[in-house]
Subunit: 312 residues, 2 copies
Amino acid sequence: MNFIIALDIGGTQLRAAVFPPAGITPVAIQKTATRGTEPGVYERLTDLVDSVWPAGPVDAISVAAPGPLNPHTGTVISTPNIPAWKNYPLADLLFKKYKVPAFLGNDANLAAVGEWKYGAGQGHHDVLYLTLSTGIGGGVISGDRLIEGCNGMAAELGHITVLPGGPICTCGFPGHLEAVASGLAIARYVSEQIAEGRSSVLKAGPALDAHAIALAADQGDELAREAFVRAGEFIGQALAEFLHIFNPSIVIFGGGVTQSGRLILDPIESTMKSNVMDKTYLDGLQLVTAKLGDDAGLLGSLAQARIRLSNV
Amino acid sequence: MNFIIALDIGGTQLRAAVFPPAGITPVAIQKTATRGTEPGVYERLTDLVDSVWPAGPVDAISVAAPGPLNPHTGTVISTPNIPAWKNYPLADLLFKKYKVPAFLGNDANLAAVGEWKYGAGQGHHDVLYLTLSTGIGGGVISGDRLIEGCNGMAAELGHITVLPGGPICTCGFPGHLEAVASGLAIARYVSEQIAEGRSSVLKAGPALDAHAIALAADQGDELAREAFVRAGEFIGQALAEFLHIFNPSIVIFGGGVTQSGRLILDPIESTMKSNVMDKTYLDGLQLVTAKLGDDAGLLGSLAQARIRLSNV
């Protein structure tokens, strides 16, 4: 094994890291803004790769990007913050330019792989990873393998229906988990309640976010507290379904909303337990928070490359 | 490879078949009632194994049984029609008695494996199998691997919630798919509607089953027809969720209710399509009925043995 270049394509930042043959400490790491006036995102990405390219041989370039994308073909189907990338053959372009294998994976899936290989899920064979952020995403490892599906679009865990006829999700359908329990949904609920006359130290409006609501809850604000409990109950309800579907031995929570701690984890856990149909699902089940933080994407990319190279 | 003995433990019948090293045509097949006055079920099962034991060497005994059970340890946790089997180490008992590897798997999961290897799912890597019978069960193959979970209790697809606060399921929780769309649920719906004064050629009561209702629907009975459409819509709604979770390339429907054909498959398909959040999930997706019929359990057991022996 030689060097691996891991890339993480975020909504605001592109990050690149060079990893040595073993271990998870990068020998180089760089970042740049995802969008600028010039050049385009692909050129910004390759400039970044060029800037970290190591002196020794490179075994692979591995990319984490927001979906939907197809990891089998290495094609970005579409991605929220990069309108120019429609059915965009990113892995193939990188392969042709750099003459090394190039891999592409969904960022939530790769965060799951990163946590499994190098973070909170080490040693487990069946891992459910749920990222609670402005949206809700996930990734599942079952029997030591990432569940990807035939087009790589499996594990869209934020889009399970928990409130039929409920609020419209970012995807356009009503009542999905993401529409009632994401950071955006928590903020929207608080704003709506304030508009209806509920008292709170918080001010309704687009600037309101889950972080501010968590601070208010810590200071005893009843509405803020209720908003997290409500979101946690929906997540716990969905989590019971996921236990019946995947029967994991560990559930890992990542994403910014998780920083609210027990405020959201307690209602998640209690609702999950009261909705699970057989206590065997809870035997030895661990609920933990993610360990890799902002590095989950890069380390998941690294893990993806090492797994795929060992399968060749 | 030598002979493999496959066993299928059903609610009414125990079946045993001996398979040669290649192919799926048994060289011997026998059955007996699951329960009798004497001896116990285990003894009935071993008598059956003895009666088919071949002259040549046996590589493995492989058992399909109703869950919940743990395929990793070979233990039946509990099973509806055999009250004596609680945390019952069936695979271990068979291994000790016959001195050959013994494997145990959930019958719905193994039916999925059987259809994948020898039936309607051949050549696919991502298969969703749904059995619509008195209950609703399922099995999922993802990336050429059966999804089992840490205790072997994954893919309980009949227990996804589709109608919060709805009818109580056999598992005790409200609104699960099985509680509103199984054969029993279809019959219960028709009985309830008749009790409320709806006209139908059918008679309410415990003898009413999905088969009779399908016949009535074929003859133009409006209530019978509506009962299947209603069940199909719930199944289609759940199926859209399963597409988002597993992204299969084929969905295989097994079980007796499937014999009602387009009556239930049409509403399943149309509801699935209108609930799926991205058309990519439908690209090339096949919806088909199972091919193996009553042999799914035995052939799934056979497939399980061949897979596990090749992984040793």
